[in-house]
């Protein structure tokens, strides 16, 4: 009964001819389905437009920047003094700062993160794993500005206890804190990769008389290499893009040095520094943050491509 009345209304509303009611019902239902599918499709397209927007905007503003600054100067000048009277536009100091803090971070996070992942996957009991994994997630959720506080007011003073000459603003403290920050990412992804190695492989290894450590290092880790490399790549892109820790604790002075005990600025810290000041739309300072932003995006893109290559290169299928 209800079906029939719906059909009647559909037919009269559409002004359709005397076709049987059920087809009208199906048509209206199809129209609704189409509408919803189109809507959902449009929403998915919006995610693509974000990428297009990011790349387009960075290229557009960078093009304006490079109209005034020759690309050669940008890549070879060893000074970045955009806030001063005499302006130099060399990206090298910012790149050096980014690389120094990221390297310090990785030197800490890669061994510790891998060790923790091997322990969690191969040694820890089920209960320990189920307790520790959520805690690592909590650690990854702490706001980065709080880590900035940690670097400036807790880690650097602690380091000064051992190294009395260390200035209050330096790249070592923030680098170490970024390292601690990315440990959960590396541990979590690497542990997932090791857990997905089939149990038979471990059992085969144990049956040959290998110990846990031998099995972990010679069977599980080689089998999970592609996932472990993916974990490192994730850590690297986090470290390179990290902003607040460096902006708070490294001193915000672009400094062309490879010495982590000196103050410095990264690409991200420079963007924050410019954005904190008065930033007239269309000025060279405004355009410069898009130009260095483009460099940052290209760097993370490069790491992602390398990660993809490594994953396919080391992939083992079982």
């Amino acid at each position: 009964m209800t079906l029939a009345s719906v059909d009647m209304r559909d037919n009269s509303a559409n002004g359709a001819s005397a076709s049987p009611g059920r087809f009208g019902f199906r048509r209206s239902r199809n129209v609704g389905e189409r509408l919803i599918e189109t809507l959902l499709f449009t929403i998915s397209m919006a995610t693509v437009s974000i990428t297009v927007g990011i790349i387009g905007l960075l290229l557009f503003e960078s093009a304006l920047f490079f109209e005034q600054v020759p690309l050669a100067d940008f890549l070879t000048d060893t000074q970045w003094t955009i806030m001063f009277e005499e302006k130099h536009y060399g990206v090298l100091p910012l790149l050096a700062g980014t690389l120094v803090t990221s390297t310090v971070a990785l030197l800490l996070a890669v061994p510790v993160g891998t060790g923790a992942a091997i322990y969690l996957s191969e040694f820890a009991s089920h209960r320990v794993r189920e307790t520790v994994k959520p805690m690592l997630e909590l650690l990854a959720g702490i706001p980065t500005v709080v880590y900035g506080y940690f670097a400036l007011l807790m880690v650097t003073p602690a380091l000064q206890f051992f190294m009395p000459d260390l200035p209050g603003f330096n790249m070592l403290g923030p680098g170490l804190v970024i390292g601690i920050m990315i440990i959960p990412y590396i541990t979590s992804v690497a542990e997932d990769a090791m857990r997905s190695v089939p149990m038979q492989m471990r059992e085969g290894s144990y049956a040959m008389g290998a110990t846990r450590l031998q099995t972990a290092l010679r069977v599980v880790v080689p089998a999970a290499t592609s996932g472990i490399v993916a974990a490192y790549i994730l850590g690297i892109s986090r470290a390179v893009g990290e902003t607040m820790v460096v902006a708070v604790a490294a001193g915000q002075q672009p400094n062309f040095t490879w010495d982590p005990t000196e103050p410095g600025a990264t690409i991200t810290a420079f963007i924050v520094q410019v954005a904190l000041g008065d930033l007239p739309h269309g000025s060279i300072e405004y355009q410069s943050i898009f130009a260095v932003g483009l460099v940052l995006v290209l760097m993370t893109l490069l790491f992602n491509v390398l990660g993809h290559l490594a994953r396919t290169r080391f992939r083992e299928a079982y």
Partner: protein, 305 residues
């Protein structure tokens, strides 16, 4: 007679190495957790004595002892409202489309690669996009609207990925049963897919919002003011039509910006305020992430296919 002492020695040495590594691995694992403990202890030590009611009721002030986080808490709440209203429909919608509607072709692959890459873009780049797009091109200014939309774009990949994972966990038999009974695609999604995946989707939403609430860099990039000693217009008014949208255009401050502002001053008194604000911020994100983890465990236990 076989000499077994060499074998015994080998076994003993390997067992020792095992034990040594177990200790090293445990230490590696504890570094992260101990850091969390030290960080919390440090924040409590420095900031706890500033945490009283007036700290939550006062505006920022030139005098550290009278400064508070009222405008930051209100600002954070309003920005989160915009972020949630934008990111939840977009993220869940895109997730549903990719799992339930999209055909397996090059275009879908492109969208998938794109979402993965967006998740890896540093947050400050979203700030640059927002500066060019929302602040200048669309002329939203340095407002709550700009900040909310910026953070929404940033957490969109998180919500999309968790929506897809939650939907993928539903067995194909459920879909086949629905279609066999004549359900249309949308009926199936509305009556079965969404209810069964709600737990996983909710977890992703909370994790995304927890990330957004602590995010500082993109908000600084759009040029948010740091000294805000007033509240935006109330969203509800006494006169018709009772709802006002003036607040979305209002300048604002949020919790992490307020903390950064205090942190970048040299005086110890302001750094105490920074510690107190940091403590509030950490508790907020820990509670949100804890809730997400609890929800996930609960739903995993309840649903057994």
């Amino acid at each position: 007679m076989l000499d077994t002492s060499a074998i015994h020695q080998l076994v003993r040495r390997n067992r020792q190495r095992d034990a040594v590594f177990a200790i090293i691995g445990l230490a590696c694992m504890m570094i992260g957790i101990l850091t969390l403990a030290v960080l919390l202890a440090g924040l409590i030590d420095d900031g706890a004595r500033r945490l009283n009611w007036s700290f939550f009721e006062n505006f920022p002030s030139r005098r550290a002892a009278r400064a508070g986080i009222l405008s930051a808490i209100v600002g954070s709440s309003l920005v989160m409202l915009i972020t949630a209203l934008t990111a939840i429909p977009l993220g869940v919608g895109a997730g549903i489309y990719l799992e339930e509607y999209a055909r397996r072709n090059w275009f879908t692959a492109l969208v998938e690669i794109n979402v993965t890459n967006l998740a890896g873009v540093p947050s400050i780049i979203y700030g640059l996009l927002a500066l060019g797009l929302f602040v200048y091109a669309l002329d939203f200014g340095q407002s709550i609207l700009s900040a909310g939309l910026t953070l929404a774009l940033m957490i969109l990949p998180v919500i999309i990925v968790s929506t897809r994972e939650a939907i993928r966990a539903i067995p194909a038999a459920i879909r086949e049963a629905g279609y066999a009974l004549g359900a249309s695609r949308w009926q199936l999604v509305r009556d079965h897919i969404l209810p069964y995946s709600a737990g996983g989707i909710l977890t992703g939403i909370i994790i995304g919002l927890a990330r957004a609430i602590g995010e500082t860099a993109p908000i600084i990039t759009i040029g948010a003011l740091t000294f805000i000693a007033f509240l935006p217009d109330a969203p509800f008014t006494a006169e018709f039509p009772f709802i006002s949208f003036e607040w979305i255009k209002s300048p604002f401050t949020v919790m992490p910006i307020q903390m950064f502002n205090w942190l970048s001053r040299p005086q110890a008194a302001f750094q105490e305020n920074a510690a107190a604000a940091g403590l509030v911020l950490v508790v907020m994100t820990l509670v949100m992430n804890g809730l997400a983890i609890w929800l996930r465990i609960r739903f995993r236990k309840r649903i057994k296919w």
